[in-house]
């Protein structure tokens, strides 16, 4: 059982015999996918469809620390790409595999060539059709022509061209339905390109159409808006958008996001940015969002733990989730910020009801050492997020309530001195200016 490393356990990462030439990992970026929960690549990939499945698999392959997971991801990516029509990706993936998966998973030049040839032919056909429609000036056909072009480019991985084609359909949209379709297409391409400004723009455009939208579309738009906010680090807005997503989303937007992701993103952002009342009202008591949370019970548990002040278990859930979250293409660079925020909030919430807190008990509750805790508290106190003082000798934290009366006197006296200083300087300057203007008028005369 030791020899059989089917379990893909933690041992792999530390084993020096492993070739790490092929794993391109910065020390800082590569995460250790070890320990208890190993990522189930197949189950994860099954949640998505289309290009995002490939993109996610490639991301996992790049970031995970273990060769076995990487190869698994690459293998699945290869299979997925073969079903599509993107020869560039095929070349890329084959290069990454570098022959490690056997003769079946190598660069298939013949296939790539045939795909390219087919692409050329289709492109010519589409161009001819489009030209024909343009001369005939039939709006609807032109729109469909550009749309088809967009789909074609998207399938072949030429995302910039796809974006341009989709945007061009805008001029030929006649009904709201067309506009929605155009917006959704543009949003899809923009998300993949990472241009979230466009995502926000087109979400608002879509929401402004005069006809009312159906529930699924609204849910899709909310998710897209949430993603845009997440990228822009506006966690509160992102949380709100994700929480407002209706359960009608279901599996209708798997080319972008899975409902589990909605739960995770929404839950974490909410935990990091909402205050207690908002958390209760919008997340815990929210029936719609509960449907999403059911899909990821860990997130549900950790939110409940946080609200009930069971910080140790909350932080434990978070730690367990962390490795998988670092492999998520949208969330990975926000994980650390969000986690620090959540931890700070937990500490602040812990100290709020007390006059004095024993640092030993607190360190136990947060599973950290007393010195480490002291350092964290110091940062929070300096930033004025906790009103307290540390008694380093006895290791106690005392709450401190500012004396309003003294503070008022102090501020009043200070304002008085500042006023005096400012006014005197101002009178001096006014005098100088008057003198200058007198000189000038004297010179004029």
């Amino acid at each position: 059982m030791d020899g059989e490393d089917e379990s893909l356990g933690a041992v792999m990462v530390d084993d020096p015999a492993f070739p790490n030439g092929s794993v391109d990992s910065d020390a800082a970026r590569a995460t250790v996918v070890g320990g208890g929960d190993q990522m189930d690549v197949e189950a994860y990939a099954a949640l998505y469809t289309g290009r995002t499945r490939v993109a996610r698999l490639l991301f996992i392959a790049e970031r995970c620390g273990s060769e076995a997971v990487q190869l698994e991801a690459l293998r699945m990516a290869y299979d997925e790409i073969r079903k599509g029509e993107d020869s560039h990706l095929h070349r890329e993936v084959s290069a990454k595999i570098a022959g490690r998966l056997g003769p079946q998973y190598v660069l298939d030049q013949a296939w790539a060539d045939s795909v390219d040839r087919r692409a050329e032919q289709r492109k010519e056909k589409l161009e001819n059709e489009l030209n024909g429609y343009r001369t005939n000036l039939i709006k609807e056909s032109i729109r469909m022509g550009y749309n088809d072009f967009g789909d074609f480019y998207y399938a072949h991985g030429q995302l910039g061209d796809a974006f341009k084609s989709y945007v061009r359909t805008r001029d030929y949209c006649t009904t709201s339905k067309h506009i929605i379709q155009m917006c959704l297409n543009v949003i899809l391409v923009s998300i993949e390109l990472g241009q979230f400004m466009h995502v926000s723009n087109y979400v608002s455009k879509a929401e402004q159409t005069p006809d009312s939208l159906d529930a699924v579309t609204i849910a899709k738009l909310r998710c897209a808006a949430g993603l845009a906010n997440l990228e822009a680090k506006k966690y509160k807005l992102a949380a709100r958008k994700f929480i407002e997503t209706g359960p009608e989303l279901g599996n209708n937007y798997t080319e972008v996001i899975a409902p589990q992701d909605v739960a995770v993103y929404g839950g974490l952002c909410a935990l990091a940015s909402f205050d207690r009342t908002e958390l209760k009202k919008k997340v815990i008591d929210n029936i719609n969002f509960r449907n999403f949370l059911e899909l990821v019970p860990e997130v549900r548990e950790l939110i409940n733990d946080f609200y009930a002040s069971r910080y140790a278990s909350c932080l434990e859930y978070l730690e367990n989730l962390k490795p998988n979250l670092l492999l998520d293409i949208h969330l990975h660079d926000h994980v650390n910020t969000l986690y620090t925020e959540i931890r700070h909030k937990a500490i602040i919430q812990y100290t709020l009801p007390f006059i004095s807190v024993n640092l030993h008990t607190m360190a136990g509750a947060f599973k950290t050492s007393v010195t480490g805790l002291e350092k964290e508290l110091e940062v929070l106190i300096t930033n004025n997020q906790i009103q307290a003082r540390i008694d380093s000798h006895n290791k106690i934290l005392y709450a401190r309530h500012a004396d309003q009366r003294n503070a008022t006197f102090q501020r009043a006296l200070q304002t008085g001195t500042e006023f005096e200083r400012e006014i005197r300087a101002m009178l001096l300057r006014a005098n100088l200016i008057k003198h200058e203007s007198n000189l000038k008028s004297a010179r004029k005369l």
């Binding site: 006296l413 300087a425 300057r429």
Partner: protein, 374 residues
């Protein structure tokens, strides 16, 4: 040289006797004495009628005194100032000369009596720059950093159309004094002239880098930076001040600790502030307690320092009197401000400008405003 009977003819005598030609060194001593005598005995009213010649005499005195390297004898200029001023709020050309002599003589306290008057009337803007610059230096010498900062602030924010060297030097000292006092350099207030805002920073780059280094809070970094730039600071005669900035960094770091901790061991203080031994930390803390910069007690047995709140309760009679006198002073200032405001609103130049910009009304709506101002 004999004196005529003093009062009625002081003015005539100044012209001839003292401005004629260079004075040889043996005559110099006598010259000084007679000028000083003259200044002490002349009549203020007469002097005010013909100030130029008097100013020239004083300038001559200053030059002589500096040449002979006996600046202390120039103290007579203080009386000269009082006699020349029409009011204690007026700035004359002699003010800056007087302060310069005080600085050269290193007797800062002599300059204080003049410095403590508020200046509100200025004849020559150039006098102002020099006066406040020297004033700043004097206050720095007396370690009254807050007033020094005010003086230097006046130089830096004075209206100016072209950059002058005095402002540049003043800004350098301004940066250093702000760091000692507040730990940071404030940005230019809105009323600073655009010339100053645009150009001052270009000429004072090492000081700006110094303030950036200070902001990081690490003593060793700051020390290294100062070492590498020691010639520049030396050539500006600011090295002493820079060293004070360095020692103020410890104080600032210790003060930050008082905000976070109730008690802290001397060892931890030494570590946090980058001092080498707890003994040094104790020394610093002790000095700060004595200077009244923090409130704390040191327990030598445990090696612990307990920080306290400011014990001021604002309940004593002295405090009530202090508050009362401040209020009175501010009310007087306010009244003065209002009177100046009224003066300006009646000023013909102002009214005509406002009148021009006003929208033109129908004559019937308004007949109290003369046509001239529409």
């Amino acid at each position: 040289m004999k004196w005529p009977p003093a009062e009625p003819h002081s003015v005539e005598w100044t012209g001839e006797a003292y401005l004629s030609g260079p004075i040889s060194s043996d005559q110099a001593g006598g010259f000084l004495l007679s000028v000083v005598d003259f200044i002490n005995s002349c009549s203020g009213d007469q002097i005010r009628l013909a100030p130029d010649k008097f100013i020239q005499v004083c300038k001559r005195l200053k030059d002589q005194v500096m040449q002979l390297q006996v600046p202390l004898q120039g103290v007579a200029l203080r009386t000269a100032i009082r006699k020349l001023q029409t009011s204690s709020e007026q700035l004359t050309t002699i003010h800056s000369d007087f302060l310069l002599l005080c600085i050269l003589a290193k007797s800062y306290k002599t300059g204080l009596s003049i410095l403590e008057d508020d200046i509100l009337e200025v004849d020559q803007p150039r006098d102002l720059f020099l006066y406040y610059y020297y004033g700043g230096i004097i206050y720095i010498g007396l370690k009254r950093f807050r007033t020094a900062l005010e003086c230097l602030h006046n130089v830096v924010t004075a209206p100016m159309t072209t950059l002058n060297a005095i402002a540049v030097e003043a800004y350098k000292k301004y940066i250093l004094v702000s760091l000692i006092l507040n730990g940071q350099v404030p940005s230019f207030p809105k009323y600073t002239s655009s010339t100053a805002q645009r150009n001052l920073k270009n000429h004072t780059q090492p000081y700006i880098d110094l303030s950036a280094c200070y902001a990081s809070g690490k003593y060793s970094d700051l020390e290294a930076f100062i070492q590498s730039n020691v010639e520049k600071f030396q050539s500006d005669n600011n090295l002493g001040l820079v060293k004070q900035v360095l020692s103020s960094l410890y104080k600032r770091n210790i003060q930050r600790l008082t905000q976070t901790y109730l008690t802290l061991s001397l060892q931890d203080i030494a570590n946090a502030v980058q001092l080498k031994t707890p003994k040094e930390a104790e020394m610093h803390v002790l000095r700060m307690i004595q200077d009244g910069e923090i409130f704390a007690t040191i327990n030598q047995k445990d090696g612990m320092v307990s920080f306290h709140e400011d014990p001021e309760q604002y309940k004593t009679c002295e405090m009530a009197e202090h508050i009362d006198s401040t209020i009175q002073r501010l009310m007087a200032l306010s009244k003065k401000l209002r009177s100046i405001d009224e003066q300006i609103s009646c000023d013909p130049a102002y009214v005509s400008k406002i009148g021009r910009e006003r929208p033109k009304f129908d004559f019937d709506d308004f007949d109290s405003v003369p046509h001239r101002f529409i």
